[in-house]
C-alpha cells in the first residue's frame, strides 16, 4: 500500500489526567471519505481537534509521510489539513467575503481568487450573501460558509465535525452531496458524525468509536448492515 495521506498509531489524547482517547490507529488514503461514528462523548471531536493541533496528543501522527506531531495549527494548515469544527468558529462580525478571504490566508493571492470562484460555484448561496455579516446567516448558511472557508486553503484533508448538526434534512442532503463531490475532486475527508446512517452511506470506510476506542472498523458498505446494531445503541432511527 502506498503512503496513506494521514496515519496515526498509538494515539492518545488526555484532558489533564483524564484520557479521552486511548491508543487508537487510523489511516486515510487519497480521495476517500473516512467516517468516525459513535455516540456523544465517545471522543470523536477530541480526535479531530488533536489531529488539527488544537489539543495536545501523544503517539505517532504522520501526514503525507511527514511526522507532524510537534507542528502548530497554522503549520498543519499550510501542509493541507483543515478542520471545520462543530461550532463552526466563524468571524461573526465580518462579512461572508472576508471570512472566505481569511480562509485562504496561507495561499497566494492568485489561488485565493480562484478558490473564491470555486467556493461560490459550489455554494451559490454564499455568493448572494457575500456582503452580509457572517453572524447574520442561518444555520445552514453558516455550515456552508465554514466549509467554504476551509476549502479556501486548498486542503488535501478536510476534517468535518458534525456538519449535519442542527440542520434541516434538505440542507444536510446538500452538504453531503458536496462532500462526495469534494472527494471526487481529490480531497480526502475525515467525517465525524452522530448521524451514522447518513455518514455511512457516503463514506468509503468507517471506524466506530466508543469511549475513546475504535471498536469496529471496515468498509462503510459492510458496516451499514451492522449499523442496525449501531442504531440500537446510538438511538438513531430513520
Amino acid at each position: 500500500m502506498s503512503t496513506p495521506l494521514l496515519s496515526i498509531a498509538d494515539y492518545s489524547i488526555a484532558y489533564g489526567t483524564v484520557e479521552a482517547v486511548h491508543d487508537i490507529a487510523l489511516n486515510i488514503g487519497d480521495s476517500e471519505i473516512v467516517t468516525v461514528i459513535g455516540a456523544n462523548g465517545a471522543g470523536k471531536s477530541t480526535l479531530l481537534n488533536a489531529l488539527m493541533g488544537v489539543l495536545p496528543a501523544a503517539g505517532q501522527v504522520r501526514f503525507a509521510g511527514d511526522d507532524i506531531a510537534r507542528l502548530e495549527v497554522e503549520q498543519r494548515v499550510e501542509l493541507g489539513m483543515c478542520l471545520v469544527p462543530e461550532k463552526r468558529e466563524l468571524f461573526a462580525s465580518m462579512t461572508v467575503e472576508d471570512n472566505l478571504l481569511l480562509g485562504g490566508y496561507r495561499v497566494s493571492a492568485d489561488r485565493r481568487r480562484r478558490g473564491m470562484d470555486d467556493v461560490f460555484r459550489r455554494f451559490p448561496r454564499l455568493n448572494e450573501r457575500r456582503r452580509q455579516l457572517a453572524g447574520t446567516l442561518s444555520g445552514g448558511e453558516r455550515q456552508m460558509l465554514a466549509m467554504g472557508r476551509a476549502l479556501m486553503s486548498s486542503p488535501r484533508l478536510l476534517m468535518l465535525d458534525e456538519p449535519s448538526l442542527g440542520l434541516a434534512p434538505k440542507i444536510v442532503a446538500e452538504i453531503f452531496r458536496i462532500i462526495t463531490e469534494l472527494r471526487d475532486s481529490g480531497v480526502s475527508i475525515l467525517l465525524v458524525e452522530q448521524n451514522a446512517r447518513a455518514a455511512l452511506r457516503i463514506a468509503d470506510r468507517a471506524y466506530m468509536m466508543e469511549l475513546g476506542l475504535f471498536t469496529l472498523e471496515g468498509r462503510a458498505g459492510d458496516l451499514i448492515g451492522d449499523a442496525r446494531i449501531a442504531e440500537s445503541y446510538l438511538g438513531i432511527s430513520e
Binding site: 497554522e74 468571524f91 490566508y105
Partner: protein
C-alpha cells in the same frame, strides 16, 4: 470666561484629545487581539518622546542598548521555543529580526546622531528605536502567557510597566526633557494662534486614523488581526498565527505610542514616568468604548482632552481627579449593560 479663552481651551483640549485618541486606539487594538490590558502603553510615549529629545540635542539615546537587549532576548526565546521545528529559513528570519535589525539601528544612530540633524530624520530614527521594542516585548513577556486569563495578563502588564518605568529612570535620568517643534510654521485664525505643532498633531492623528482604517478594512493582514480579535480558535484554524497577530498589535502599539511621545515633546516636559498618566487618559477613553470600539474611543478621547483643559483652567489642582472620575459613571453603566467579553481558552 471670554470667548477667546474658551477657544484656547478647546484648542488645547482637542490637541491633547487627539493624542489620547491614538493611545486609546492602541489599547483597544492590543486588548482585542491579545486580551492584554496594556498598562505599559504610556511607556512607549515616554521612551519615544525622550529618545527624540536626546537625538535632537545630538546625543545618542541609551535606549538603543535596550533595543539590542530586547532583540537578542526575544530572538533567543523564539529559537528555543521553536527548536524542534527550526528550518534554515526560520533561523535566518529570527536572526535578521532579533539581532541584525537592532544592530543596524544601533549603527545607524551612531552615524546620524548630530545636534544639527533634521527633526524629521530624528523622528524616523526614534521610530526605528522604539517601534521594534513592542513586538520584542510581546515575545519576551506575553507570548509565553498567550493562553492565560485576562487577569494574569493584566498582572504581567503591570509588571512590564513597572520594569519599563525603572529602566526609563536608568536610561533617561530623573530630569525632564523637551524637544524642538517639528516645524516652526504658525499663523492666527481670527485671534486664535495655531502653531505648526498643533497642526502636526491634528494631521498626524487624522492620517493615522485613516491609515488604520484602511489597514483593517482593506489588507489581508489587517483583516487577520480583526479575525484574531473576533474568534481566536477560528483564526488559528485558517492558519493565522495568534502569536504573529500579537506581535503586529504590539508593533502598532509601540508605533502609536512613540509618535504620540514625539508629538507632545515640544509642548510638555516629559519625565521618565510621564507616560503612565498620559496612557491612563487614553485608557479612560478606551474604557468608554468598552475596549472594543474605535469610533467611541476617538470621541471619548476628544472629550477627555477638552474636559481636562477646562478642569486645568478652573481647578488646576483637581485636574487629574476630574479626568479620572469620568471613568466611574462609565464603569457603572458598563457593568449594568455588560457586553460579553470573550474569556474562553
Amino acid at each position: 470666561m471670554d470667548g477667546l479663552i474658551l477657544l484656547f481651551l478647546l484648542q488645547d483640549g482637542l490637541t491633547n484629545g487627539a493624542i489620547y485618541a491614538l493611545l486609546g486606539f492602541a489599547l483597544v487594538l492590543v486588548f482585542a487581539v491579545t486580551r492584554i490590558i496594556f498598562i505599559p502603553q504610556g511607556e512607549f510615549v515616554a521612551y519615544g518622546g525622550l529618545t527624540f529629545a536626546l537625538l535632537s540635542i545630538g546625543k545618542i539615546p541609551s535606549t538603543i542598548w535596550l533595543l539590542l537587549v530586547f532583540g537578542i532576548a526575544s530572538c533567543v526565546i523564539q529559537l528555543w521555543r521553536t527548536r524542534y521545528l527550526l528550518t534554515l529559513r526560520s533561523f535566518i528570519r529570527e536572526i535578521a529580526g532579533g539581532i541584525a535589525l537592532p544592530l543596524a539601528v544601533f549603527f545607524l544612530i551612531r552615524m546620524l546622531a548630530r545636534p544639527d540633524q533634521s527633526a524629521w530624520l530624528n523622528f524616523l530614527l526614534t521610530l526605528a528605536i522604539v517601534v521594534p521594542m513592542g513586538p520584542y516585548l510581546y515575545r519576551i513577556a506575553f507570548q509565553p502567557l498567550a493562553n492565560a486569563s485576562v487577569l494574569t495578563l493584566l498582572i504581567a502588564a503591570v509588571g512590564v510597566h513597572l520594569s519599563m518605568v525603572g529602566l526609563g529612570l536608568v536610561f533617561f535620568g530623573p530630569e525632564g526633557l523637551r524637544a524642538p517643534t517639528l516645524t516652526d510654521i504658525s499663523f492666527t485664525l481670527g485671534k486664535l494662534p495655531f502653531t505648526g505643532q498643533t497642526i502636526a498633531v491634528y494631521a498626524v492623528t487624522l492620517a493615522l486614523t485613516g491609515g488604520l482604517y484602511l489597514f483593517f478594512d482593506r489588507t489581508l493582514r489587517g483583516k487577520a488581526l480583526r479575525a484574531t480579535a473576533a474568534n481566536r480558535l477560528g483564526a488559528r484554524l485558517v492558519g493565522i498565527s495568534v502569536a504573529g497577530s500579537g506581535q503586529i498589535a504590539f508593533a502598532l502599539s509601540s508605533f502609536l505610542g512613540a509618535i504620540s511621545g514625539i508629538l507632545i515633546m515640544p509642548v510638555t516636559t516629559v519625565y521618565y514616568d510621564t507616560g503612565f498618566l498620559i496612557g491612563l487618559k487614553g485608557f479612560v477613553a478606551a474604557i468608554f468604548g468598552a475596549l472594543a470600539s474605535y469610533p467611541i474611543t476617538a470621541v471619548a478621547a476628544i472629550a477627555v482632552g477638552i474636559i481636562e483643559a477646562f478642569a486645568s483652567f478652573h481647578a488646576s489642582s483637581y485636574k487629574e481627579v476630574i479626568v479620572f472620575m469620568l471613568i466611574v459613571p462609565v464603569l457603572l453603566w458598563r457593568s449594568l449593560y455588560a457586553p460579553q467579553i470573550e474569556e474562553d481558552e
